[in-house]
Symmetry: C3
Subunit: 174 residues, 3 copies
Amino acid sequence: MGGPARLTLVLGGARSGKTAFAEGLVAGSGLAPVYVATGEAHDDEMAARIARHRSDRGPAWRTVEAPLDLAGTLRCEAEAGRFLLVDCLTLWVTNLMMAGRDVEAECGALGAALEAGLAGPVLLVSNEVGLGIVPDNAMARAFRDHAGRLHQTIAALAGTVYFVAAGLPLKMKG
Amino acid sequence: MGGPARLTLVLGGARSGKTAFAEGLVAGSGLAPVYVATGEAHDDEMAARIARHRSDRGPAWRTVEAPLDLAGTLRCEAEAGRFLLVDCLTLWVTNLMMAGRDVEAECGALGAALEAGLAGPVLLVSNEVGLGIVPDNAMARAFRDHAGRLHQTIAALAGTVYFVAAGLPLKMKG
Amino acid sequence: MGGPARLTLVLGGARSGKTAFAEGLVAGSGLAPVYVATGEAHDDEMAARIARHRSDRGPAWRTVEAPLDLAGTLRCEAEAGRFLLVDCLTLWVTNLMMAGRDVEAECGALGAALEAGLAGPVLLVSNEVGLGIVPDNAMARAFRDHAGRLHQTIAALAGTVYFVAAGLPLKMKG
């Protein structure tokens, strides 16, 4: 019940098919799927895109928004019989930075919540962003550092880790 | 004869050795190798580089240029006894964008041609470009999205997919 | 004694946990660990960071600085009973470029030294930087090309190559 073994991390690049792969894992579990969205609609185009994705997932999925308080949302929502899909960690890190939050502290709190164990399984999707040239601007470098450290923390706790490229999963752990 | 099982995708980063690895696969097949070049010589330096690569491949290789009409070229050139190497998809996407073409429609037409089946085997080389920070400029973001979607399409059709890093292939499928 | 089979390459992205993984391999070998640092302290922040890392590694580690003459340092320092960890190659390439050196010649000399065989095992850590969008500026493109070619050279000589993401190693060779 709860515990790190119930955690899955799906890493991948932009347009790598990581979310579709993750949705397939959750939908195939037989549990009630919950989509934990970290993205927010800041304009009409974004709102339309979010609505389209929600419609694509179909009526079996419930959607919960967690732009900032991800650890609290996971603690509230997790329960036996439900499978939470968090999409995605990098967007959450971006939101924390934009809101002026202490990103390392928030990432530490998320790690602590996951390590303490939740009442049901959670899959976290995130963008790998550290395999290009060092970015020119300091904000992008800080973002890249936060994301990389968070991925290490989550991967250490997760029972299963996938790296997705071109829609194909590569199992890194589990 | 024809069909998705005869398709190979080789993904890799810049200077990852992906083309040399792909050339080895094609040259080792015993079939007549055909190099389908999507790159064009826009200046003398590029022309010299293309001529050097052609000379490096040696006289066994025939070279065909397909900067824009890749689906048509593959349909024309594919035949039993020949092995086509397309180098590379990301350059083709760049050419389509520069020429103002409808990239999604062209990628769809390429996918349809590959799905319908060609008369001989084809290996496609492409750059993975989605593992760095989100680019500042909209054109680069659109390019990255087009490339990622195309890789998913081709990987789903391909019988074999490799990811190459530091000259070493990692089999993702097949 | 010496020879390519004693070489290990650890590739990974920014904040991928590649250095911690590499330190674990070297520390677990039972040999005397030597940290060959290619980074230099150009300011107080950097100096503090270097001092912190040195303290984190603990007293078992000896540290040697090799910002430019990496091949010479490896020839001097390598011996049976010692395990050298070079951290990292991409920083060394940056130093060479900043110093106006002939990078291809220096990389060739390093490759020759490693191919000739050293008197003890060496592990080299490097950043994979070729999986993002083509950089706008020519210096970054040249850096990316140098790094990619060097990784291919070292990987061909190495007995073992790992790719590290989110702190998890994926064995590419060996």
